[in-house]
């Protein structure tokens, strides 16, 4: 029985460490390769949140573990009788409250940053359909659906997002972007991709039978390549 208890505790410690490691490890793709300034800001905010909350996490789980190890009932050792400590209660109310106020600072700054579009250099429209995405380039008169979105890197791109039928959500993790596409409403996002490449995402709001197949591909190319591509598209259309 004594042995079993040791194993049980070992297991609990192991699970605790695994939990902390899993939550904190930067294995998420957007954490490793944030592709836009917004995604980088979100990552910084995430690390700040982890730093602030890790203190409380370790303290609480640690105290729990120590209490379980130390205060097992032993014959002849009576339980303590105290059950109040006003000062302690003030402390554990005030400190988390202060921590939350501190954490709200960077959260609101980042939010403001996401919210304010710098002067945009290319405007696109994203329209959700059951179950594909339609993209429009109003300036070029180009409209197509069910293919990769193509944008130039380094340029500030603003997108109006809406839907033709049910609610969808345009989600590209590496860009730090998720925006619901609501029918009858137009939502607004912006992004500026650092490097050329292919970025993947998919619809994030349940939109019916094939919600799981509503993929997003964004090909980010050089501005020259983009000009060539859009000219071709114009001719094709």
């Amino acid at each position: 029985m004594k042995n079993g208890r040791a194993w049980a505790l070992l297991l609990m410690v192991g699970l605790g460490i695994a939990a902390a490691a899993l939550i904190a490890s930067p294995a998420g793709a957007w954490l490793l390769h944030p592709a836009t300034p917004v995604a980088r800001e979100v990552r910084t905010l995430f690390y700040k949140a982890v730093a602030v909350t890790a203190f409380f996490f370790i303290l609480a789980e640690g105290l729990l573990l120590i209490a379980v190890l130390r205060f097992r009932a032993k014959p002849g050792v009576p339980a303590a009788t105290w059950h109040e400590n006003f000062k302690l209660e003030i402390v554990w109310t005030a400190i988390p409250a202060i921590a939350m106020v501190i954490l709200s600072g960077p959260a609101f700054t980042t939010m403001k940053y996401m919210e304010t579009t710098p002067k945009s250099e290319l405007q696109i429209e994203v329209v959700g359909h059951q179950w594909f995405w339609e993209y429009r380039y109003p300036k070029y008169g180009v409209i197509f659906a069910n293919e990769a979105l193509v944008v130039p890197f380094g340029k500030i791109i603003s997108a109006n997002v809406t839907s033709i039928d049910v609610v969808h959500s345009w989600f590209v993790p590496d860009f730090g972007i998720k925006m619901d596409a609501n029918p009858g409403r137009i939502n607004h996002v912006w992004f500026q991709v650092d490097h050329p490449g292919t970025y993947k995402g998919q619809c994030a709001e349940l939109c019916g039978v094939l919600h799981g197949q509503m993929f997003i591909t964004v090909n980010v190319v050089t501005p020259e390549e983009f000009e060539r591509w859009i000219e071709q598209k114009k001719k094709g259309a």
């Binding site: 049980a8 699970l15 695994a18 899993l22 939550i23 294995a27 793709a29 957007w30 954490l31 995604a39 979100v42 995430f46 949140a49 982890v50 909350t53 609480a60 105290l63 729990l64 209490a67 379980v68 205060f71 009932a73 009576p78 339980a79 059950h83 400590n85 209660e89 109310t93 988390p96 409250a97 939350m100 954490l103 709200s104 959260a107 609101f108 980042t110 939010m111 996401m114 919210e115 609610v167 959500s169 993790p173 730090g176 972007i177 998720k178 925006m179 619901d180 609501n182 029918p183 009858g184 409403r185 939502n187 993947k200 619809c203 994030a204 349940l206 019916g208 039978v209 799981g212 197949q213």
Partner: protein, 539 residues
């Protein structure tokens, strides 16, 4: 909390509630009863029946998701099963079983003979039977069950996109369940405010009664809003009223506001009574008073109140106004403070105690360990930019299961193991109880911890299959689900075996210390009809 001192002399409520009734036997005893103990027992049975079904749905989903590209379920069937899993776990398991345990325990804990309105109590229970059955039956109708998730966002639920009767029966089922909740809410609030034994002042009530009082008040305020929204959704479908349809001058986002105005407080409806159970089980098995009783009461009320101000944190990606998001974000972070008070107070309760690791205690300690994780990810999710990044991904699925499985379900298990000997009068096998705990604790982490990773990698929730890059984490989660399945089977067998041939339970099978013994442990197991021969007077 000094409910331990019981002086046996008749108080003003000494006369019986049902004078002159002869006890019925057989099936009629259950069908016609208005006894809170029988009704509470039936609530618990019915909730576990729905739990088995919703749990089986989860198993089927984890089988479909065990590897990418499997064809266990067709996509439309997956969506139905997924929607019913959520709906049943919330509305037909967690909320009713909390009501069931409260039904059984609260009147005894406050020294009453029954609920204030015994017949209304029976109505509350019986409404749940057609509610759940109708919704289940919709699986077998043309077009199948509702498939828009437990959140059922329009326009997907409009007739145009969900033509079959599934959504109509979903609405009807929730309407009935909501009516059951509201009637129960009235009953609990009146009972707790009016039927307390002489000397049982509000601030002498056991913590569980406080959490039930706050929970039932939340139910009374929030559930009518849900009922209104459901009616609007129904008339949209039946008469084309267009409340939630942009082309008809309505707004799909309005549903999200109304739905979450109910459904965020519903999280506390599901968690607060569990916290009440934990607040009694920890002292019982530590031989120590609950730490900071008044602080705990205030924290409970605080969570209940702030819980009404945070619904918008489910809508950070919807495109609602910047200032609204700021408000909802900060309010959601504030909830961490009263939640923290509870966690610190529980830790202070066991600190210096004389801990006995019986099955209810293991589940209570497991609750704390897991709920801390759900609380921390909850703070992260309150931060708008991070929330937008992982909203509607598996990260949220992980978070909500740490709150509702790690929180509510662990507490429910703790409560069931704690009060089962009282309810059935039978003891259960402690060894298999502990096996159940360890399988649940390990299986829970195996299943839901990897979901944080899936979400961080960008795997959306509610998809019937996924891109290959998410495979490894899904393998682990499905293996974890299998462990949970084995654990729950052991639980069911252990409980049934205990009912069939368990040893008789004494009045207080847990040997409570004098400070931690609440009234239910002063009467026989199961308690006599009308609970007390003479109503206790609390000193």
């Amino acid at each position: 909390m000094e409910a331990g001192t019981v002086v046996a002399r008749p108080g003003p409520y000494a006369e019986a509630v049902h004078p002159g009734t002869t006890p019925r036997t057989g099936i009629l005893k259950w069908l016609l009863t208005s006894d809170h103990k029988l009704i509470g027992t039936m609530y618990i049975w019915l909730a576990f029946f729905f739990f088995a079904i919703a749990g089986a749905f989860a198993m089927v989903m984890r089988t479909q998701l065990a590897a990418p590209g499997l064809h266990v379920l067709r996509p439309e069937v997956y969506n139905q099963i997924m929607s019913l899993h959520g709906t049943f776990m919330v509305f037909f398991f967690t909320i009713p079983i909390m009501a069931g345990i409260a039904n059984y325990v609260v009147p005894i804990q406050i020294g009453a003979r029954d609920m204030a309105f015994p017949r209304l109590n029976a109505v509350s229970f019986w409404l749940l039977v057609p509610a759940g059955s109708l919704m289940l039956a919709s699986l077998f109708l043309q077009g199948g069950a509702a498939a828009a998730g437990w959140t059922s966002y329009p326009p997907l639920t409009n007739r145009q996109y969900s033509p079959g009767p599934g959504v109509d029966l979903w609405i009807l089922g929730l309407h009935l369940a909501g009516a059951s909740s509201i009637l129960g809410g009235i009953n609990f609030v009146v009972t707790i405010l009016n039927l307390r034994a002489p000397g049982m002042k509000m601030f002498k009530m056991p913590m569980f009664c406080w959490t039930v009082l706050v929970t039932q008040t939340i139910i009374l305020i929030a559930t009518p809003i849900l009922a209104g929204a459901l009616t609007m959704a129904l008339t949209d479908r039946m008469f084309g009223t267009g409340f939630f349809q942009a082309v008809a001058g309505g707004d799909p986002v309005l549903w999200q506001h109304l739905f979450w105005f109910y459904s965020h407080p519903a999280v506390y409806i599901m968690v607060l009574p569990g916290m009440g159970m934990i607040s009694q089980i920890l002292p019982a098995f530590s031989g120590k008073h609950l730490f900071g009783y008044k602080g705990m009461v205030l924290a409970t009320a605080g969570i209940g109140f702030i819980g009404f101000l945070v619904w918008g944190h489910h809508m950070f990606a919807t495109g609602i106004d910047y200032r609204l998001r700021q408000f909802f974000s900060f309010a959601s972070m504030v909830i961490a403070v009263p939640t923290g008070i509870k966690i610190w107070s529980w830790l202070a309760t066991i600190w210096g105690g004389s801990l006995r690791f019986r099955t209810p205690m293991l589940f209570a300690l497991g609750f704390i360990a897991l709920f801390i994780i759900g609380g921390i990810t909850g703070i992260w999710l309150a931060l708008v930019p991070f929330d937008v990044q992982v909203h509607d991904t598996y990260f949220v699925v992980a978070h909500l299961h740490y709150v509702l499985f790690g929180g509510s379900l662990m507490a429910i298990m703790a409560g069931i193991y704690y009060w089962l000997p009282k309810i059935s009068g039978k003891l259960y096998n402690e060894f298999w109880g502990k096996v159940h705990f360890w399988l649940t604790f390990i299986g829970m982490n195996l299943t839901f911890m990897p979901m944080h990773m899936m979400g961080m990698l960008g795997m959306p929730r509610r998809i019937y299959t996924y891109r290959p890059e998410f495979a490894i984490w899904n393998h682990i989660a499905s293996a974890g689900a299998a462990v949970l399945g084995v654990g729950m089977t052991i639980f069911a067998l252990n409980m049934l075996l205990s009912l069939w041939r368990g040893r008789r339970a004494p009045a207080d099978p847990w040997n409570h210390s004098d400070e931690t013994r609440t009234l239910e442990w002063t009467v026989s197991s199961p308690p006599p009809a009308e609970n007390f021969h003479t109503i206790p007077v609390i000193r």
